[in-house]
């Protein structure tokens, strides 16, 4: 019995391990190198940061499609500030502060509309996505604003401690904070409760409004942080920075077992999901899979991986016959 519970809980980790082993066997010289692993982690660090915040919204059954363009906006705001104050160190801090303000404001806006007016999160964030993009375009006059100075700024995305670059540590720290909040604090308990059954949560004395607001603000803040990191990584601010990140975040979370209906999923799972996607991309690059065909392999692998995972949940042996059985009894 104990065995079973373990396997169910850690099946994603097993898949991850499988990935690592397979890649090591196929590419013994290039895959398991510190450089490469650090590259993989670097490339998923922004997704990891974003997921750590967006998961709050997803746990409530919401969705935030605007994270990508919000990243763009905060990148632009940061870079504009730094440029405006002649690349001084203080301006970096000011820029980051402003970006965080923008993120929080966006979160408040989303939360208000979603909870007060009961508008589906999909539509609200679909609309704000274009609003944020528009604002960034106005601010930049649609130019790329490069920003190679000061070191304080470029180090955010490119600096290193030991073998790993800063964004990796940021991801780990933010994911840990997110883990702590979701698993150890009352707020975390309340988020799962509101996501799992909002009516029951209300009757238990939880303010759905407050929890929803907080979740969207958190999502906005991580998007802002992601934007700053990405701006530093690319040493530039432009409106389209971060476009497409929303789907990557959702992919990582859903592969990691976060239910889009709300109430179920863990941050550990979501981060493992992000790493899986990162490894998959890396593996295909290392095997020189042509980019036009990467989608095919990626899609297939995701389907198989998630299918195995789902099988685990329903405790079925992985066989064709079982695959074709109906779900019926699943909760």
């Amino acid at each position: 019995m104990i065995k079973k519970i373990r396997w169910e809980k850690y099946s994603r980790l097993f898949i991850l391990l499988l990935f690592l082993v397979v890649l090591t066997i196929i590419r013994p010289n290039s895959f398991p190198t510190v450089n490469n692993i650090s590259n993989v982690l670097w490339s998923i660090s922004v997704v990891g940061i974003l997921t750590s915040g967006s998961i709050f919204v997803m746990l409530l059954g919401g969705i935030d499609l605007s994270v990508g363009s919000l990243m763009g906006l905060s990148a632009v705001v940061t870079v504009l500030t730094i440029r405006h104050f002649n690349y001084s160190n203080q301006s970096v801090l000011l820029g980051i502060g402003l970006a965080l303000l923008v993120g929080a404001a966006a979160g408040i806006l989303h939360g208000l509309i979603v909870i007060k007016f009961q508008v589906p999160a999909f539509l609200v964030t679909f609309a704000t996505q274009s609003i944020f993009l528009g604002i960034s375009m106005v601010l930049t006059n649609n130019k790329i604003l490069s920003c190679l100075e000061p070191k304080l700024f470029t180090d955010i995305g490119l600096g290193k401690i030991g073998m790993f670059t800063f964004p990796i540590y940021f991801m780990i720290i933010i994911a840990l904070i997110s883990y702590f909040v979701l698993n150890k604090t009352v707020l975390g308990r309340y988020i799962y409760a509101v996501g799992g059954n909002p009516q029951a949560a209300t009757i238990s004395g939880i303010s759905n409004v407050k929890i929803t607001m907080i979740s969207y603000i958190v999502s906005g803040l991580t998007a802002a942080i992601g934007g700053v990191v990405l701006a530093s990584m690319t040493q530039q601010g432009m409106a389209s920075t971060g476009s497409g990140y929303e789907t990557e975040v959702i992919t990582a979370a859903v592969i990691g077992g976060v239910s889009l209906v709300g109430g179920a999923g863990t941050i550990q799972g979501a981060i493992v999901g992000a790493v899986l996607v990162g490894l998959l991309n890396n593996g295909m690059n290392l095997m020189n899979v042509p980019s036009t065909q990467q989608g095919l392999i990626k899609g297939m692998v995701i389907i198989v991986a998630v299918a195995i995972d789902v099988m685990q949940k329903y405790e079925r042996k992985f066989s064709i016959k079982n695959l074709l059985k109906k779900k019926g009894e699943a909760v």
Partner: protein, 509 residues
């Protein structure tokens, strides 16, 4: 031998997540009998029904229909065999109309087209409704109906099929006395027509009254199969739960006045269009029962008192001071507790563990280390609750959604017992709960009252109302129309008042 049985389930085994919930269970239904199925919460009754109707697949065993083995894995076979089922979890579709629900999957069609004949379907549904005198309209959207009316729709779904076997899993759980009475008449007439019925209920008096034979399950095994003459209340209860419980109390009650100070006073509370001018006082340690028919507005009053819904007019006083329930959080802080009638919809968080469900209202009293919740404290509280009200399984990490109905309710109650309360409102607390657990809940309520907690009990179960309450208030169409506070009162008195049939002598209070 097996010829006389219309349906036989033989040596059925079933396990979920490695836990065996049915062990070699047998069930035989004869033609034209009402066969009751009883057992504690979680005994496996609903599971057995779902196996018979092909919702779950059995691990092993046989199902015989008129002596021939059938494979109802394919749930479509059910209808062609002539089996209809009213499930415990309501299987009505909220967004559809009553008629659409009743004829789901068997809609009448306009000739030579694939199109649904709505006119005919609504007529058919309406005549069915009228036949049984249910307070429904065929074009009502189910979403707008209260839980009791939904239950009626569910029953109609079962009745709409000309079946040889009708299975009903706790059909009266959220029905009022009057609706239940209609149902019993229906069951009687069906029996006369030769239809067999499997009847699951926790209300013992129903079972005694209706059933021809009785199968008792205990811990997933057959505990007894009794013929009509063998059905003896005390023995049945004993077989079910292994100890003696007095079920006979509760048909008459002598009420007494409570002389304590007033804890809760409600003055002319009004929510436009729902209830009006609700006024009452409750003394410390008093249990006030709220009786009435479905839709009388009792639930709404409770929700407003608790701060879930808003009211337009009126005042509430708690211990002499005016209390305005602006939010549920404030109410809880001030000492209110609320157990809602719609357990699944409002009572608990299905995907979350027993542990966290019980802690949910109590984080103000659970210790914290810095920002972090002390999981030790949390767990201790949960274990205390599990022990106090005997939640089964007693694994704190089990998701509440996976528990049987009765145990889910225990979790909902459990979280309120862990804190100091002044007022506890309970709305249909024992719907779908076995006698053993019911008794425990009654005991818990009296214990709380003894400690000085005010309890407002909304119940459509007359026996329960009489048994538990110190005083009974009757609501009808959003008004308090009567109050029984002294002397003796019987079920008949309550029913009379609730249905609005006034006898002259009872006007004065």
């Amino acid at each position: 031998m097996s010829q006389e049985y219309i349906l036989e389930a033989k040596m059925i085994n079933k396990s979920f997540s490695g836990v065996q919930v049915l062990k070699n269970v047998n069930l035989g239904i004869k033609k034209g009998e009402v066969h009751a199925l009883m057992g504690e919460n979680g005994a496996g009754k609903s599971t057995l029904i779902k196996i018979i109707t092909g919702v779950y697949t059995k691990d092993s065993g046989k199902i015989l229909w008129k002596g021939k083995e059938v494979d109802i894995n394919n749930s479509k076979d059910l209808q062609s065999l002539g089996i209809a089922c009213v499930y415990q979890e309501l299987s009505v579709i909220p967004v559809l109309t009553v008629a659409q629900n009743i004829y789901l999957g068997k809609e009448p069609k306009i000739k030579n087209t694939g199109l649904i004949d709505y006119k005919k379907m609504n007529q058919m549904a309406q005549s069915l409704i009228d036949q049984y005198e249910f307070p429904l309209k065929s074009t009502d959207i189910v979403d707008t109906l209260g839980i009791g009316l939904r239950q009626l729709v569910e029953i109609l779904k079962g009745l709409a099929i000309d079946s040889e076997l009708l299975i009903m899993d706790e059909p009266t759980a959220s029905l009022s006395g009057r609706e239940s009475a209609i149902l019993f008449k229906i069951i009687d007439s069906l029996r006369k027509k030769g239809v067999s019925i499997i009847y699951i209920s926790h209300r013992l008096e129903e079972v005694y009254m209706l059933s021809d034979r009785l199968t008792i399950l205990r811990d997933g095994m057959n505990a007894a199969i009794l013929e009509k003459e063998e059905i003896k209340p005390v023995a049945v209860i004993q077989t079910m739960i292994g100890k003696v419980v007095d079920e006979s109390a509760g048909s008459v009650k002598t009420l007494t006045k409570n002389k304590n100070e007033i804890t809760l006073k409600v003055d002319n509370l009004t929510r436009k269009g729902v209830f009006e001018d609700i006024s009452f006082e409750v003394h410390r340690g008093e249990i006030v029962g709220f009786g009435g028919l479905i839709g009388a507005g009792r639930t709404e009053v409770m929700r407003c008192l608790f701060g879930v819904d808003k009211y337009n007019n009126g005042k509430i006083y708690l211990e002499g001071k005016e209390f305005v329930p602006t939010s549920t959080r404030k109410s809880i802080k001030s000492g209110f507790g609320f157990i809602p009638e719609d357990r699944r919809g409002q009572g608990f968080i299905p995907l979350t563990s027993i542990n966290k469900n019980i802690a949910l209202t109590n984080y103000d009293i659970i210790k914290k280390i810095g920002l972090a919740v002390s999981s030790k404290d949390e767990l201790e509280m949960c274990l205390k609750a599990i022990k106090k009200i005997d939640i089964r399984p007693n694994n704190p990490d089990k998701s509440v959604g996976l528990l049987s109905g009765g145990n889910q309710q225990k979790v909902v109650i459990g979280k309120w017992l862990m804190r100091d309360l002044k007022v506890l409102m309970v709305d249909e607390p024992t719907a779908g709960i076995d006698v053993g657990a019911k008794n425990e809940i009654y005991n818990i309520l009296s214990e709380l009252a003894d400690k000085g907690v005010v309890i407002l009990l909304v119940s459509s179960d007359l026996q329960e109302l009489l048994r538990v309450s110190h005083r009974i208030v009757i609501m009808r169409k959003g008004h308090i129309i009567k109050e029984f506070s002294e002397g003796t009162v019987t079920q008949a008195d309550i029913l009379q008042a609730a249905s609005g049939i006034e006898s002259d002598e009872e006007v004065a209070l």
